[in-house]
């Protein structure tokens, strides 16, 4: 039981990435994992399983919705889709994250004073 995700990411980061990924297109679990990995160029080491509790949290907050469908390999899979509330939430989160990042960057920037 490694706790890699919790060590490497701040709380809510995984959810934010899922929402961002789903904003482009609805995906099923495995595709979602692959997508995040590729997009991040494998910089972020995410245990694939940790996606599922995060997805359940998002479902519970009704930021995403899920429907059973078929994958490209013809398997029965659950396909996740961003809801309107999810899109709004993502926007809020991203802007607040950007502000935070901005702050951190300023602090970390080499001294100008």
């Amino acid at each position: 039981m490694t706790k890699a995700t919790q060590r490497d990411l701040f709380p809510g980061a995984l959810e934010m990435m899922i929402l961002r990924t789903l904003k482009r297109q609805p995906l099923h679990g495995y595709a979602l994992a692959q997508n995040i990995k590729q997009t991040s160029d494998n910089v972020l080491q995410i245990e694939e399983g940790s996606l599922y509790p995060a997805l359940q949290r998002l479902l519970k907050q009704e930021l995403v919705k899920a429907e059973w469908g078929t994958s490209s390999t013809n398997r029965r899979v659950r396909i996740y889709k961003l809801t309107a509330a999810g899109a709004k939430h993502l926007q809020r989160e991203v802007s607040s994250f950007e502000r935070m990042l901005e702050g951190i960057t300023r602090v970390l920037a080499p001294g100008e004073s």
Binding site: E47, E48, G49, Y52, R57, K60, T73
Partner: protein, 897 residues
């Protein structure tokens, strides 16, 4: 709402999630295989990158629930299933727990109702009993109630106190009611003004007796009890204003007290006014119980000081007649020791009840130890399962909780069954009405009992659940996966908990057995005391009172009594009959006074010790089986001739004259105005107050004698107990004969207190026998539970060592040797338990010193016998499994592994 729905569709969610995760893994495997990996390799990579599947599943589901409640819910479901799959275990555990809880709940109900609940009076905490002692008055120590109040004390206290809202005195007695169906003796309580005001319980019908009803020789008014009102007047409201004939005088009924109202501990039918006559009240006459209600903010200490201040006022205000020094009572050192009324009602039963409660509590501990043992064995058997669960990611806390939930469920189920048992138990107890338990009618299950039972169930289940939970759910349980299959011998550490439990059980059982043993010895000691009467089963008693309003002339009273005796003696099967003012242990208020001997000199300012006065007919001694130590009995001719004759008890004769025979011919009297009475007989000492108490020095007067305080009509003893010696005593047909005999002399005489001497004797032993029975039951339960505990542990230990024993036997160890080895192990445990138990017992039995008689709390015989018994039983409990072990063919054991 959504959560709740999800909670119940959990199973579907779980299936969907599994399917989804499985699809995820399959996709990945397909992809990896497409990239050129072998399918097997691909599966492993997929699983590794995914993480722990079951943890992911659990975490995902957790999102939807209030996880704690959810987990608890599933633990409960799991636990129930486990219990259902193991019915023998479940039933044994449930029985043990529920019997333990039931016993505790019953005793707690009694303790709660008798000791803890407040009395049924408004603001009962303000009520006090005016108890006082007089250490300077010799002989008074025999008074159970200390020094009661005299009417003059009542007047002084009531009029001059500064600490009471109200105050009164009362006195329980009996009276005859005629004119309603058959003549009947009723229980009366005479009250002064202030008693009803102090209790503050409003009447159910009509009004209280008031000050205007306390006028001497005024209109005579009474109140009724609820029960008597229902029984004799059908609960009719028109009873107020009617008359009732009490001791042949009509009295007007002014009110009825409500149901359940008692005057302190006295049940009654009729309340009468005492109506003291101020004009003729003297200092003496200490025959009344005082009660009072404290003013708000005043303490008992304030009240004690207040009454102590009033004692000199009392001596200055009243006298015992001209020529008497009123300050003679200073030598009595009268001291008020006011007590809360509750303490007065409960008496000394509290100590007994707490001992019983403690005993039953120990039984519960032993039961818990047994259940712990069972659970330990069970958890050990489930180790593999637990280890697998731990390996699959169940947290340590989760497993501990699982075990605890299971034991709490057992505890609660046991509590429910126990409560049902307790309900019947309490009803049985009340029906048997053991001893003279005060407030017995109030004993019932209530919210507090429910709370106690619930708490007890939970606490005990945590107690017996925690040991196995902590022992086996520890982080190291992973190692059990490896060590599970084969074990050569049981490790020492694995047995430590169980061994400690057995030692604890043996020591607790020893303490209880010693307690029961001491009570048995007490009972035996009491049985060997000669109470001063013989063969009580065949001694019929009945009490008859002849009031002055019915028969005025004293001599006629005695002649009627004599006539009744003759009729009784003529009943077929009657050997003899006699009467006396009271039989031993009957518990009626007795008459005590001083007595002066002619050949002794008495200093002016002292009061000689008080002696018990009894009034006795010819033939009573022979009837009761009381031995005449010296001299002879009185004869009827002497009684009617008012000849000054008297008899004394052996201890009084020895105190005054050295030997019984020396007493014969000596003379004594009660007061200077009385002629000297010649001692003609000496009677053996009689245990008047019960066999535990020393026999009081007693003076036996004739039932008819001249007025001891000077000129005036002679005096007859109007209320006496008739004793009839017959094989038929107690039989209904015999009682009919007795009634007819009495009514053939005077049909207006009611028979009261109809019982055999055995009933009276039994009741005086009731406290001891109640304790004996309770401790006996507790000790028997402890012994059985202890045996089961030892047996269980030894069987299990032997079964664990089966392989070792097999090897030893194959290698040629003699069977006897192996047997001895196993027995030694068990005996060691028993010895350790006995040693601890003896230590604890020596400390604890001291608490029951007051309950013992004729045996010390450290009685070596009891301790030795109980220790021996326990060791013997323990060895036997080890022998059976040990024997089974050595009789098994060693090859079978070895092959089995």
């Amino acid at each position: 709402m959504n959560h709740l729905r999800k909670l119940f569709s959990q199973r579907r969610m779980y299936l969907e999630l599994s399917e989804e995760i499985q699809a995820h893994l399959d996709e990945k495997v397909d992809e990896l295989v497409a990239d050129g990996m072998s399918r097997e390799e691909a599966r492993q990579v997929a699983l590794r990158e995914f993480g722990n599947v079951s943890v992911v599943e659990e975490k995902s589901l957790d999102v939807w629930t209030w996880s704690y409640v959810e987990n608890l819910f599933s633990d409960v479901k799991y636990g129930l299933r486990a219990l259902r799959h193991n019915p023998v275990f479940t039933i044994v555990v449930l029985l043990t727990i529920s019997i333990g809880i039931a016993a505790n709940a019953v005793v707690f109900t009694v303790v709660n109702s008798v000791l803890l609940k407040p009395l049924h009076y408004p603001r009962a905490e303000e009520l006090v009993a005016l108890h006082q002692v007089a250490p300077g008055a010799e002989g008074l120590a025999d008074f159970e109630n200390g020094l009661l109040l005299s009417p003059s004390m009542y007047f002084t206290y009531a009029e001059h106190n500064r600490t009471f809202q109200s105050l009164g005195v009362w006195f329980a007695s009996t009276a005859n009611v005629t004119g309603l169906a058959v003549p009947e003796q009723v229980r009366t309580v005479g009250v002064s003004d202030g008693v009803l005001q102090t209790f503050g319980v409003p009447p159910a019908v009509g009004r209280w007796l008031s000050q205007t009803d306390q006028v001497p020789r005024g209109p005579e008014r009474v109140m009724l009890s609820y029960g008597y009102w229902q029984r004799r007047f059908g609960g009719s409201e028109t009873v107020v204003g009617q008359n009732i004939t009490l001791d042949s005088r009509p009295r007007e009924i002014v009110g009825v007290m409500p149901q359940g109202f008692q005057v302190v501990d006295a049940d009654f039918d009729v309340i009468t006014p005492l109506a003291f006559d101020r004009g003729s009240v003297i200092l003496a006459g200490f025959g009344f119980h005082g009660i009072a209600r404290l003013k708000p903010g005043k303490t008992i200490a304030d009240a004690d000081a207040d009454l102590a201040r009033l004692l000199p006022v009392w001596m200055d205000s009243w006298s015992n007649g001209p020529g008497n020094n009123p300050h003679i009572y200073e030598t009595w050192k009268i001291t008020p020791i006011i007590r809360p009324l509750k303490q007065e009602v409960i008496g000394n039963i509290g100590e007994l009840l707490w001992v019983v409660m403690g005993t039953i509590g120990v039984v519960m501990l032993i039961a818990c130890a047994n259940v712990t043992n069972l659970l330990l064995v069970r958890v050990e058997a489930r180790q593999q399962e637990l280890a697998v669960r731990a390996a699959l990611g169940a947290g340590w806390a989760r497993i501990v909780r699982g075990i605890l939930v299971e034991s709490v469920m057992l505890g609660l189920m046991g509590g429910v069954v126990g409560l049902a048992l307790a309900y019947s138990g309490v009803r049985l107890l009340v029906a048997m009405s053991p001893t003279n338990l005060p407030r017995l009618s109030e004993v019932s299950l209530d919210a507090r009992t429910l709370g106690f039972t619930f708490l007890l169930s939970v606490l005990s289940s945590v107690l017996f659940g925690l040991v196995p939970a902590l022992k086996y759910a520890g982080p190291r349980s992973g190692s059990h996966l490896r060590s599970m299959g084969r074990t050569i011998t049981a490790s020492r550490e694995r047995h430590r908990a169980r061994n400690l439990l057995v030692i604890g059980q043996v020591s607790m059982a020893l303490v209880l057995l010693v307690g029961a043993g001491l009570m048995i010895r007490t009972f035996e000691a009491l049985r060997t005391v000669d109470p001063g009467f013989a063969d009580p089963q065949h001694l019929q008693l009945l009490r008859i009172s002849i009031p002055g309003s019915l028969v005025a002339e004293p001599e006629r009273v005695t002649r009627i009594q004599n006539g009744i005796l003759d009729k009784l003696a003529a009943i077929p099967g009657v050997k003899s009959a006699g009467f006396v003012s009271e039989m031993p242990m009957e518990g009626f208020d007795s008459n005590w006074d001083q007595v002066f001997a002619q050949d002794k000199v008495y200093a002016d300012n002292t009061i000689p010790p008080l002696r018990l006065y009894k009034y006795i007919s010819p033939d009573l001694l022979q009837t009761a089986g009381t031995t005449l130590v010296a001299g002879r009995e009185m004869m009827w001719s002497e009684i009617y001739g008012l000849q000054p004759r008297v008899m004394v008890s052996e201890n009084l004769a020895r105190e005054m004259w050295g030997t019984p025979s020396a007493a014969i011919g000596k003379r004594l009297r009660e007061s200077p105005k009385m002629p000297w009475h010649e001692v003609i007989g000496v009677i053996q000492d009689v245990s008047e107050k019960g066999v535990q108490e020393t026999a009081p020095e007693t003076v036996y007067w004739a039932p008819l004698m001249e007025n001891p305080f000077g000129p005036g009509p002679e005096q007859a003893t109007r209320t006496v107990t008739f004793a009839v010696r017959s094989e038929r005593a107690g039989a209904e047909s015999f009682l009919n004969d007795v009634r007819e005999a009495v009514w053939s002399v005077n049909s207006n005489l009611p028979l009261a207190s109809v019982r055999t001497m055995q009933d009276v004797y039994g009741r005086s032993l009731a406290r001891t026998s109640f304790t004996l029975v309770m401790l006996g039951i507790a000790a028997a339960m402890a012994l059985v539970l202890g045996i089961i505990g030892i047996y269980g542990v030894m069987s299990y230990a032997v079964s664990q060592r089966q392989r070792e024993i097999g090897i030893r036997l194959t290698l040629g160890a003699p069977r006897g040797h192996v047997l001895q080895m196993v027995l030694q192990q068990g005996t060691k445990l028993a010895l350790a338990g006995v040693a601890i138990g003896v230590g604890a017992g020596l400390g604890l039995t001291r608490l029951m010193t007051h309950l013992l008689f004729g045996v010390t709390a450290h009685d070596p015989l009891t301790f030795a016998a109980v220790s021996g018994l326990l060791i013997l039983v323990a060895v036997l409990a080890c022998y059976i499994p040990a024997r089974r072990a050595i009789l098994v063919n060693p090859m079978v054991t070895l092959r089995y592994e």
